[in-house]
């Protein structure tokens, strides 16, 4: 599906992933195709178990045993690519490095001089609103602050595409909305192409230009919804009527899939009980 426009910076074409388990083969992702244009914010949303995180790993190059092709600016990728910067769902800061050293990590790998990379790191620390915390260690920061350190570290590598897997999933709703504002602000400042994997409808509508809705297992593209809300956006948009309409529309798409997922889980528990 989805004919690829020529100006696409990221193209996923016919991605399928199958896992062999003791209970048999499980198709996690089935023939998923989409494109992302430069500067675009695309969210992938779906119920638990739809293969969102598998798709994240495929696009990030961490999972290579898949069918189909992922390409960045026309170049097919077969592993982690420097054009793609990843922000993970789990807390991923290095506890042994302070904020500056965490953010400077990708710059250190390039062999940049120490003073230069510290200055560069400070620029991104300021961008995520953590100036004043440069010398602090992750253990001294809140969950939201640590995720901002991870975001700054990824941005410091200056990726063409920012790939995020539910980066705020572990945070409370208020922090999540405020961090959403921060991500939007950064994305709009840097014109950063962003692909967000999420199961949170509000988060997806708040930030995205388009939302790709996935079906429950096997994960397929159910629909791609264009979000025609004005930019620049902030979390205040969640109170608008148009925002509510988009949320309702996506929920109606997701509801059936989420119900299927729930029934599937219940069935699995019953089967497990029967087996034991």
């Amino acid at each position: 599906m989805a004919a690829a426009p020529d100006d696409a910076i990221l193209k996923a074409d016919g991605i399928s992933v199958r896992f062999d388990t003791p209970e048999g083969a499980v198709i996690a992702v089935d023939d998923v195709s989409f494109t992302v244009r430069p500067g675009e914010f695309l969210s992938v949303i779906g119920p638990s178990g739809c293969g969102k995180s598998t798709l994240f790993n495929v696009i990030g190059g961490l999972l290579t045993h898949h069918a189909g092709v992922v390409s960045v600016a026309g170049e097919t990728i077969a592993g982690p690519h420097q054009a793609i910067g990843m922000v993970f769902q789990e807390e991923s800061t290095f506890p042994w490095r302070n904020v500056t050293d965490n953010v400077a990590f990708p710059l250190e790998l390039t062999g940049m001089a120490k003073q230069q990379r510290i200055e560069r790191a400070r620029h991104f620390i300021k961008m995520v609103g953590l100036d004043g915390f440069e010398k602090r260690y992750p253990g001294e920061l809140s969950g939201g602050m640590r995720q901002r350190v991870s975001l700054a570290r990824t941005l410091a590598s200056e990726p063409k595409i920012l790939l995020m897997d539910e980066p705020f999933a572990a945070l409370d709703e208020q922090t999540r909305l405020l961090l959403g504002d921060k991500v939007l602000q950064i994305q709009q400042t840097l014109k950063q192409t962003t692909l967000l994997i999420t199961h949170n409808i509000t988060e997806a509508v708040q930030m995205s230009d388009r939302i790709l809705v996935m079906t429950y297992r096997p994960g397929k593209v159910k629909r791609i919804v264009d979000i025609d809300l004005p930019r620049p956006r902030t979390s205040e948009i969640v109170g608008s009527e148009a925002f509510g309409r988009y949320v309702a529309q996506i929920w109606s798409d997701l509801r059936e899939e989420a119900s299927r997922g729930m029934q599937d889980e219940e069935q699995a528990v019953l089967l497990e009980d029967g087996a034991s």
Binding site: P80, M86, F88, S92, F94, W96, F105, P106, Y137
Partner: protein
Amino acid sequence: MTVAAAPARRAPHPYAAPLTGIASLVVFLFAIEAIIRIGWISQFIVPPPSEIAASFGRLVQEEHIVRRFFYTVGECLTAGVMITVCGIAIGVLMHRFRLLQQACETWVAALASAPFVLAYPLFMVIFGRNVWAIIMMGFISGLPPVILKTIEGISGTRRVLVNVGRSFNLTGTQQVWKILFPAALPTIFVGVRLGLVFALINIVGTEFLINYGGLGQLIEDLAERYDLAGTYAAIGFVILVSVVFFMALEKVERWLRPVD
């Protein structure tokens, strides 16, 4: 309605813990002194702590205990550096080559409980009656915990940290030195501490058995003369060696990893 505010919990004074530790030791020694003076424990088995303390001056002047202390510290330091360097390198290799780990980890674990000190005649045959026989005894006995804890620490590194490294295209060597090793450091330090304890026991034990070297030889001499106060004082110096190493290791760990 008035609600009473809960009293804020004050942070303890930085010297509170060490001072409490010293105070506990003093109380313990006073209790032992009292028990011995009362006669519940025979003075011919355990001398009173006051007598042990009084023997320190004699040990310094006549037995050159300070020189012997530094001799044993030197042996432990050499063995400690060897077990750290070799233990971490072997642990990293065993983690890297899964077959090697599966084949050898059980053997290494079994070696950790082996009473190496009983093999001292073999070490004397190989190295002669000299300091290297003692250091090698310490090295061999302290190596297994460092290897095992290095494997455990690296294997326990959170998957997401490894994935961060992969996402930045780290090479295998960079993955080890920039992600796996620092992530495993707290666990590796547990192994180094255990290794040093094993090494110290075996070093002092070998000095005692072959009547050569530092504090172990002195303990043997004093015990032969039935100088109980001196023997216990020398054992106190062995404990001091352990304390010195533990404090130094803690400093190194804090330097390498300031906040967990």
